[in-house]
């Protein structure tokens, strides 16, 4: 089922991190544990989400686990946008 939030995140991550010619990402592709997004780049992903959705994600919740897939990122963002 289409999910606008997930699609926006997926599009951003694809444009930002994927090398040309790499296999396309899915909602459940491991981003950090899969080596697609490194720890430095995770910070700008957090900034993108905060700016886009006008939220503030505390550092202690912006963990590699919480950012590891588009599915998990969507859960995290929704927790703050619905708060």
């Amino acid at each position: 089922m289409a999910d606008e939030l997930k699609d926006i995140v997926l599009k951003y991550v694809t444009a930002e991190y994927l090398e040309d010619g790499a296999d396309p990402l899915a909602y459940d592709t491991p981003l950090i544990s899969g080596g697609i997004v490194d720890s430095f780049s995770m910070v700008s992903l957090k900034r993108f989400l905060e700016n886009k959705y006008k939220i503030s994600i505390p550092d202690d919740q912006a963990t590699p686990e919480a950012f590891d897939t588009v599915d998990k990122i969507a859960i995290l963002v929704r927790r703050f946008t619905q708060a």
Partner: protein, 415 residues
């Protein structure tokens, strides 16, 4: 003390894992001074073999230059062997200050501070000049020592795609709310031999009020018409806020590095950079050698001119032989083989032909981009390059890769 068998076995297991994965590093022992012709013991215990060195950072051929060696002897005689102190207690000699002044003049900056190595310069500089309110935006292919320095700093890290100026601009726009922005790049990227677009980077940094740091370790002494570095090549002398570089490559190749740039930033390093505060600086004998290197480089551009000619000759020769090369115009010429085992086998076959050039593969370079990285030197004469070209061609024929495209090599040997 506690080092029971189970602890030993833990480490044995890890090391065996590296061997099994084919990424266990082994040294080759050189029994002669560093030069174009060297005598090597490899594998360990085997008899010495005379080979041509095609993989040293000895770009200007100064590692064993008689004038540099004589100056080092003189330095040893007049200033002793060690300092037994960090700089700010009693570890600073007149020649340390002289080297800082000479480096500043050579690079066209405002001030310079020496570090035990460029690894230390890069480890210390970020923490010394930035805080958690700032952002560090680095090219994704910067050297490991810059990555370590960024990790040690509390400022926010971010990256941009390799040499992608549009992406860098997006990041600079995104981070306009930070107190300070520092853009970070290598001058010459050591694995690919390409150069950072410093003219465009300076323009972007001016537009978005950001400082620019360039690690010019694979450039200082030979890139640019008078060898000042990538900032000379791109016409931005005096516009780089921080240059870090090494004395361990072209500039004599012994040891030591520095941070050179804006006066206040250098002073911040002198006050706060931990590798400067808590480690001895460069030994007097090396300082004396590097001062002589600067004498040699400022009296003539002969060595960097010869290096440029050698690099062009070598690149043309390999292209004509039918190898796939990374594009570039520096003395780093990567011969692309794509497959890790092929790179290792190729290197070994070259050694059997009297050529010393090592294979690089993941994780040092990205997956399926294995290569032999060749590096030219002003110490190479044409007969060295002709012999090396003949050996590369012979080995290339043996592995049937000459004239083949990237895809054809991958089809045959795998990624």
């Amino acid at each position: 003390m506690a080092y029971p068998d189970k602890t030993r076995d833990t480490y044995k297991g890890i090391l065996q894992g590296l061997r099994d994965a084919g990424i266990f590093k082994q040294e080759r022992f050189i029994h002669s001074p560093q030069a174009a012709d060297i005598e090597v013991e490899f594998p360990e215990g085997s008899s010495l073999r005379k080979v041509i060195n095609m993989c040293a950072n000895n770009y200007l051929g100064l590692s064993s230059h008689p004038e540099v060696v004589a100056a080092a002897h003189e330095g040893l005689k007049t200033r002793g062997y060690g300092m037994s102190s960090v700089r700010f207690i009693c570890g600073t000699q007149d020649i340390h200050k002289e080297l800082e002044a000479r480096t500043t003049k050579f690079l066209g900056t405002e001030d310079t501070i020496l570090f035990p190595s460029c690894m230390d310069a890069n480890a210390g500089v970020f923490e010394a000049v930035l805080t958690k309110d700032d952002v560090m935006i680095s090219d994704r292919l910067v050297h490991a020592s810059l990555i370590d320095g960024i990790r040690l700093c509390g400022a926010m890290p971010d990256t941009f795609k390799h040499s992608d100026m549009a992406h860098l601009e997006q990041k600079l726009q995104m981070h306009q709310d930070r107190r300070l922005r520092l853009v970070i790049t290598d001058g010459v990227f050591s694995m690919d031999g390409d150069t950072a677009k410093l003219d465009e980077m300076v323009a972007l940094c001016e537009k978005y009020d950001a400082m620019l740091l360039v690690d010019d370790s694979h450039s200082t002494g030979f890139i640019g018409k008078t060898g000042r570095g990538t900032h000379e090549k791109y016409g931005v002398l005096g516009k780089i806020d921080i240059i870090t570089t090494t004395f361990g490559k072209a500039l004599g190749g012994a040891t030591g590095g520095c941070v050179s740039g804006r006066k206040e930033l250098v002073e911040m390093c002198r006050q706060k950079a931990r590798p400067y505060l808590f480690s001895n600086t460069i030994a007097p004998v090396v300082v004396a050698g590097v001062l002589k290197v600067f004498d040699i480089l400022t009296r003539s551009t002969e060595l960097r001119d010869k290096l440029e000619r050698n690099a062009a000759y070598w690149r043309k020769g390999l292209q004509e032989a039918g190898f796939v090369l990374k594009e570039g115009d520096t003395p780093i010429v990567p011969v692309m083989l794509f497959n890790a085992k092929l790179a290792q086998d190729f290197s070994r076959a070259l050694y059997d032909e009297g050529i010393y050039a090592v294979g690089f593969f993941f994780p040092v370079v990205p997956q399926s981009q294995a290569r032999i990285r060749t590096q030219l030197s002003a110490g190479h004469e044409l007969h060295h390059l002709d012999r090396a070209l003949a050996a590369f061609t012979k080995v290339g024929k043996k592995f049937e890769i000459l004239g083949k495209t990237r895809q054809e090599i991958i089809d045959r040997y795998g990624m």
